[in-house]
């Protein structure tokens, strides 16, 4: 252990989740260190969101555990939740609140007070460019603004861990670029996980990529390593190669 960069901030140990007969996540293990941006790739229904929901303490794993900054999610969920900033899939928000009152509420829960609270809210509003809509109710905002409010809420307490489920989904190209720049800007001080099925995003922001399908890890390495596996040098191709090969093998083993 030499300094922060070496320390695993998120440590996922043999995580497993079943929903009745559906085996959503199968024995997944990985770690994320400070400064790393882990891209979670996989087809729809691969178990990306479920894994994130378990790391953030929204779902309980069937087996295995997660520790964040040294706190176990099952033993000390509140400590873990304090460390994490989380943007759930689709960025659900309280529509009837205004942007300002919503951020106020989050700041209260995050334990920010008085001047510090006002300053921090103001700082985040500036950073995410929400000045023009601060007193508008959230349900009247466009999709791009709603997503930005979601991002604002997740970084309000300057968390050590940032987990974002499809942060750029449904945004226009400019907004996508903005969100990616923002993530890159914040990355050095945090451990970040983002899920996506847009492969260009991996190239643009991630320092590491994990491909999962049917709840299993198929690849874990840098985007460059991933690219090297492809004959054409395109991430799209290698993604298709890895996942379709996996599904074919699964189909064969199911038949035999």
């Amino acid at each position: 252990m030499t300094g922060n960069a070496e320390k695993a901030v998120i440590d996922v140990k043999s995580l497993d989740k079943r929903f009745g007969p559906i085996h959503a996540v199968r024995n997944i293990s990985f770690t994320v260190r400070q400064g790393e941006v882990l891209g979670f790739l996989g087809p729809n229904g691969a178990g990306k969101s479920t894994t994130m929901k378990m790391i953030t303490g929204f779902l309980e794993p069937t087996a295995g555990t997660v520790s964040v900054c040294g706190h176990d999610i099952l033993e000390d969920p509140i400590k873990v939740k304090e460390k994490i900033g989380y943007l759930p899939e689709g960025a659900p928000l309280y529509g009837e609140m205004t942007v300002k009152t919503f951020l106020d509420f989050i700041a209260d829960v995050r334990g920010l007070k008085n001047v510090e609270k006002e300053n921090r809210i103001e700082e985040v509003i500036q950073k995410i460019h929400l000045e023009s809509v601060r007193n508008q109710t959230i349900e009247t905002l466009s999709k791009g603004f709603k997503r930005r409010v979601g991002i604002a809420h997740s970084i309000l307490h300057d968390p050590e861990v940032l987990i974002m489920d499809e942060p750029t989904d449904g945004l226009d190209p400019n907004q996508k670029h903005e969100v990616r720049t923002l993530i890159k800007e914040m990355a050095p001080a945090k451990a970040t996980i983002i899920s996506t099925h847009i492969l260009e995003e991996v190239d643009a922001v991630c320092t590491r990529a994990i491909i999962i399908a049917s709840g299993q890890i198929l690849f874990d390495g840098t985007p460059a390593e991933l690219q090297a596996k492809s004959d054409t040098g395109r991430l799209d191709d290698v993604f298709r190669q890895i996942t379709t090969k996996f599904y074919q093998e699964q189909g064969e083993s199911a038949q035999s």
Partner: protein, 244 residues
């Protein structure tokens, strides 16, 4: 405490940022008026008291309180904000208490706004105001019990309609548990102790004695225990959902 306060504020102001609060308060005041003056024969009785007013509270609450409580958790499930709430560093029981207190406070506002009734009866005669005060307190506690039931049920489902209907049915059973409708079901096979116990669960019996101006500490404890039980069940339901 901080968390409970934050949840409380958010929840309480959300009643007023949608038409829910205003619709509810207007309907509540209108119906209490109708029931008191027409069905309760407030004038014809020629008595300076608010008995005809309080008599109908349990029946009004039966439909109106589940309507307030149904959104507490169902809506969060439906819109997905429950994921937001449950990944904030708030213990489940604090979220449950904060939401419940907000709904209870909102109901209190509605009940307090019936004060013209109290002014009227004081203008027309000289009622026993301690009886009226006791009745108000009893009514509040009964409303709290209905709310706790509704809150727990709403945690079970995404659908506010289902939450409403089931809450009404359960509240109805609690209202009538001292009456033959419920007791006949248990007579004959259940031991007398059990039948008596069920009969003692009736909201009406407990409210009846408070309404006469007798604040028996046991009646208040009954309502408080009921609130605690249903809120505890509420926490259990939410925790169970996490593991499913």
């Amino acid at each position: 405490m901080n968390n409970i306060k934050a949840i409380f504020q958010r929840e309480f102001s959300s009643y007023f940022s949608t038409p829910v609060a205003y619709v509810f308060i207007v309907i509540f005041l209108f119906l209490t008026g109708v029931f008191t003056f027409y069905l309760g024969a407030f004038y014809e009785r020629n008595q300076a008291d608010l008995e005809p007013f309080f008599r109908f509270h349990p029946w009004l609450y039966l439909f109106l309180i589940p309507a307030i409580a149904m959104r507490l958790w169902s809506e969060e499930r439906k819109t997905g904000t429950i994921e937001l709430l449950m990944t904030l560093p708030i213990p489940v029981h604090q979220a449950v208490i904060g939401k419940f207190l907000a709904a209870w406070c909102f109901t209190t506002v509605a009940i307090v706004l019936t004060f013209p009734m109290w002014i009227t009866v004081n203008y027309l005669g000289s009622p026993d105001n301690t009886v009226i005060l006791a009745s108000y307190i009893g009514s509040l506690f009964m409303a709290g019990s209905f709310l706790a039931i509704g809150s727990c049920i709403s945690a079970l489902t995404k659908s506010q309609v289902i939450a409403f209907v089931i809450s009404v049915v359960i509240c109805f059973l609690f209202l009538l548990s001292g009456f033959p409708l419920v007791l006949d079901f248990f007579h004959g096979w259940a031991p007398q102790v059990v039948v008596n116990a069920i009969a003692s669960f009736s909201f009406l019996t407990h409210f009846e004695s408070i309404k006469k101006g007798v604040i028996d500490i046991r009646d208040l404890i009954y309502f408080l225990a009921l609130i605690c039980f249903w809120l505890y069940a509420n926490v259990v339901v939410i925790e169970a959902r996490k593991a499913s």
